[in-house]
């Protein structure tokens, strides 16, 4: 629109405020790109574990960058130093920016203290993918698991993150659960600063909807 108003000119590019970026990207374009990514990796590997690892590594790079970007753009230059803080950051902010909605739920594991789960009815990346029977338990959500791992690693909470299918009765397609298992060093120190998780025993399920 010519002449609609004067946009403030910044003399120094560093003074310009951070742009919001493109809010929406075409879903079909992304689905196409992701399917090509999976197919390309399929030609390079011999087994499923290697394929999952490659998808995870691709996601790790995304996660590392998303953490830095969102810290400046959405969080106003504040870092996360607490475990629950970073988990809810992943569950809401990261999911909202990447997939347009917050994740379905965030739960604390019942058997082990250091396990957390983010579940989603249908991961966006899996929506247009069907897994053949002979590939067993392979889950393309490994890409998303890699993103989560990248965010947690960058923030200083090393973890092993995997994606699993959880069949739910009454539904045709299984839920996807991202299982986060934190490394040893996260837990001794974190119990001091993690005010909620430390006091309760492992039977508690912390559910954020």
């Amino acid at each position: 629109m010519i002449g609609a108003g004067k946009i403030k000119q910044y003399s120094n590019v560093l003074d310009k405020p951070l742009s919001k970026g493109k809010q929406e990207v075409s879903l079909s374009a992304f689905a196409f790109l992701f399917s090509e990514l999976v197919q390309y990796n399929q030609t390079q590997v011999d087994n499923i574990a290697e394929l999952e690892r490659r998808l995870e590594d691709a996601g790790y790079a995304v996660g590392a960058r998303v953490l830095e970007l969102l810290c400046h753009r959405d969080k106003g230059n504040r870092r996360e130093t607490r475990l629950l803080g970073i988990l809810s950051f992943v569950h809401s902010t990261v999911w909202k920016v990447l997939f347009g909605k917050v994740a379905d739920s965030l739960e604390k594991g019942t058997e082990h203290e250091d396990e957390y789960m983010i579940s989603e009815k249908e991961l966006l990346v899996n929506r247009f993918i069907s897994i053949p029977k002979d590939m067993g338990t392979f889950n393309c959500g490994a890409f998303v698991a890699g993103i989560v791992r990248g965010v947690l690693d960058g923030a200083g909470f090393p973890a092993v993150v995997t994606a699993h299918f959880v069949p739910i009765e009454g539904q045709q397609r299984p839920r996807t659960t991202i299982l986060i298992k934190f490394a040893e060093e996260v837990f001794p120190g974190v119990y001091d600063v993690c005010s909620v998780g430390a006091k309760k025993r492992s039977k508690v399920r912390l559910s954020l909807r």
């Binding site: 590392a64 953490l67 830095e68 969102l70 810290c71 400046h72 230059n77 504040r78 870092r79 996360e80 130093t81 803080g85 690693d153 960058g154 923030a155 200083g156 120190g189 600063v193």
Partner: protein
């Protein structure tokens, strides 16, 4: 009045990836690498301090004689150090 500052960006595993001298002081022969030692020593302090606050800019975390170290911690695993060397004016505060 000559003031230099040394600016270093450190990545994870404490490896410096960028270094710059800002300011107009002449090169000091006797203390050529002094600022690097000082900043390296401040790394431990930063690593502990970074967990106590969610702010990103930490001001004046460490001193060495008249050199003051401040650091900007990023969300990812890197830090940016700034070391002020003031040759004529003593540091206050």
């Amino acid at each position: 009045m000559a003031t230099t500052a040394c600016f270093i960006i450190v990545s994870r595993n404490c490896i410096p990836i960028y270094e710059a001298e800002v300011g107009s002081a002449p090169k000091r022969e006797d203390a050529a690498q002094l600022h690097q030692f000082v900043l390296h020593a401040a790394l431990d302090i930063v690593q502990d301090l970074a967990w106590t606050t969610s702010a990103m800019f930490l001001k004046a975390i460490d001193r060495f004689n008249d050199l003051v170290v401040s650091v900007y911690v990023t969300a990812g695993p890197s830090h940016m150090f700034n070391n002020d060397i003031s040759q004529c004016l003593p540091q206050t505060g």
